[in-house]
């Protein structure tokens, strides 16, 4: 993804690219006006333009869930939407859920239950779990497993992840 002004087209001619234009995204309660090309994904906008690198790029194809963020309270894969299509929406990333000094209950539960090894999938897991809690559909372990299936952990910390999410789900009941 580039915002340079020219590109080499198939016919060998140089054509002007679509110039970046200002896009205002409301992220964690704060407006960010960013200069973005139409093809910038929400994920790239967060990481490369807004400087919020908590959201991770795993597969970039909506298969792993590492890029999960909340849009208007609902969890989505930020790699499969364009930033310009999210103008006007309320975006929450892992940075908006808790802070170093005031951990979100899910963050604390992930620590308590040893729910990660490398930690790369963790921001997506936690945002997804917050989405699951907002939805209010999953209560049992089987239901949590099913509704967390969009988040892959290649370290295989699933047992800890399930325990952590279950603890917070139970506490909300």
């Amino acid at each position: 993804m580039s915002t340079v002004s020219t590109t080499s087209a198939a016919d060998g001619q140089l054509r002007p690219l679509v110039p970046p234009s200002p896009v205002t995204l409301r992220i964690n309660g704060q407006d960010h006006t960013l200069q973005l090309a139409p093809w910038t994904s929400l994920l790239d906008a967060l990481r490369e333009y807004a400087g919020l690198t908590g959201t991770k790029k795993g597969c970039d194809h909506g298969q792993c869930g590492a890029c999960t963020v909340l849009v208007d309270g609902k969890r989505i894969n930020s790699c499969l939407t364009l930033a310009v299509l999210q103008e006007g929406a309320d975006i929450t990333t892992i940075e908006g859920l808790g802070s170093e000094h005031a951990l979100h209950p899910l963050q604390q539960a992930f620590i308590d239950h040893d729910a990660f090894q490398c930690g790369y999938c963790t921001p997506g897991q936690i945002c997804s779990a917050q989405g699951l809690i907002n939805e209010g559909k999953a209560q049992t372990e089987d239901e949590i497993r099913e509704l967390m299936s969009g988040n892959v952990c290649r370290c295989g910390a699933y047992v800890g992840i399930l325990a952590a999410v279950k603890e917070v789900v139970d506490a909300k009941r």
């Binding site: 993804m1 590109t7 690219l17 679509v18 090309a37 139409p38 093809w39 994904s41 970039d60 194809h61 909506g62 869930g65 999960t68 609902k74 969890r75 989505i76 894969n77 499969l80 939407t81 364009l82 310009v84 299509l85 997804s128 989405g131 699951l132 939805e135 559909k137 089987d142 239901e143 497993r145 099913e146 509704l147 967390m148 299936s149 969009g150 988040n151």
Partner: protein
């Protein structure tokens, strides 16, 4: 991804006009399939017409006693909608059997119909594919074709339609409302998707620039006796090898009305009216179900790696019909997925 321009349409008329005014335009709803295809260089539109501001996200009753599903309502909002869950649990459960919660929160109802095959050769631009590049050949025929079609294939394409939702919509006899440059029309669900024949680049019968505005469900929802059975390589978040949607209306143990559609076996959701006819007026017994299953698969043709699907589909049909007749799945069971 190639460079493109994008506008967000405020009305259906504006969207259709904007599409017609650009070369190589595409509509974008949730974007979960289109953006993926663009990243893979399989799709390269020059202009996108954004649909997520259109006032098409409602779900409301129709005068005929049915339910109108807005084109841009998300798959999640549709599956969890109280009226869909109560009156059309087959649809709700089919939607929840597909994709992941994140994807269902993004993907729209119209986009679910418009999603393209997950044939690995279609996605791999280094291999021939008549669907991606007409005339280039088919690498799946004679290749590795575990996920491919066994019914309605042609010499040019053996891809499957990947949707779960559409299998239920086929069984429920949904109607697709569209608007295009020449006005609006409705398309019966069975006529919406097409078989590959010699033009596999065309997935459906939409004309250029036509936009889906809603998907309408008729009043009959088969909420008492239904089943959506999905068989796949893992328990969640995988496409169907074979799926079966069944709706039955029973009078005692006699089948009064039957709907039967399969997913994962053809270029379109595979509804078999002849097999439904075989079920009607018959007792709801295993012998009846087997007869119907044999009829559905009579013309099936394996491609090598997917030969197993023929027997799998027969058994899946018998099981789904058995589950539907017994009223095993309830409208309140939304997690059939985790109870295989």
């Amino acid at each position: 991804m190639n460079p493109f321009t994008l506008t967000r349409a405020a009305s259906v008329d504006a969207a259709v006009r904007d599409f017609s005014g650009h070369e190589a335009a595409a509509y974008i709803g949730g974007g979960t399939n289109l953006l993926d295809l663009m990243k893979e260089n399989v799709a390269h539109p020059q202009h996108l017409v954004g649909l997520n501001k259109l006032p098409l996200s409602s779900i409301e009753s129709t005068t005929g006693g049915g339910l109108r599903l807005g084109a841009t309502a998300t798959n999640a909002d549709t599956a969890w909608h109280a009226e869909v869950q109560q009156r059309y649990p087959l649809l709700s459960q089919a939607i929840l059997a597909g994709a992941s919660p994140q994807l269902r929160n993004m993907a729209t109802n119209a986009g679910n119909l418009m999603q393209r095959t997950r044939c690995y050769y279609f996605y791999d631009t280094a291999t021939p594919c008549n669907k991606r590049e007409p005339g280039s050949g088919c690498a799946a025929i004679g290749g590795y074709n575990r996920i491919h079609a066994i019914l309605g294939t042609s010499d040019s394409c053996i891809a499957t339609h990947p949707s779960d939702m559409c299998v239920a919509l086929a069984a429920l006899e949904a109607v697709v409302q569209v608007q295009g440059p020449d006005g609006s029309r409705q398309i019966k669900f069975e006529d919406f998707h097409r078989l590959p024949e010699d033009a596999p680049e065309r997935d459906n019968t939409l004309q250029a620039g036509e936009l889906i505005t809603s998907i309408d469900l008729p009043a009959q929802g088969f909420a008492e006796n239904f089943a959506y059975l999905k068989l796949r390589d893992r328990q969640s978040y995988a496409f169907a090898l074979v799926s079966v949607a069944v709706g039955l209306e029973l009078d005692g143990n006699t089948i009064k009305e039957a709907r039967l559609a399969l997913g994962g076996v053809a270029h379109k959701p595979w509804r078999d009216k002849a097999a439904e006819h075989l079920l009607k007026g018959q007792p709801a017994t295993e012998a009846t179900f087997r007869k119907a299953a044999e009829a559905v698969l009579k013309e099936a043709k394996g491609q090598g790696t997917n030969d197993f699907k023929i027997e799998l589909a027969k058994r899946a049909i018998v099981r789904a019909l058995t589950q539907a007749a017994a009223g095993e799945q309830k409208a309140s069971d939304v997690f059939t997925n985790s109870n295989p």
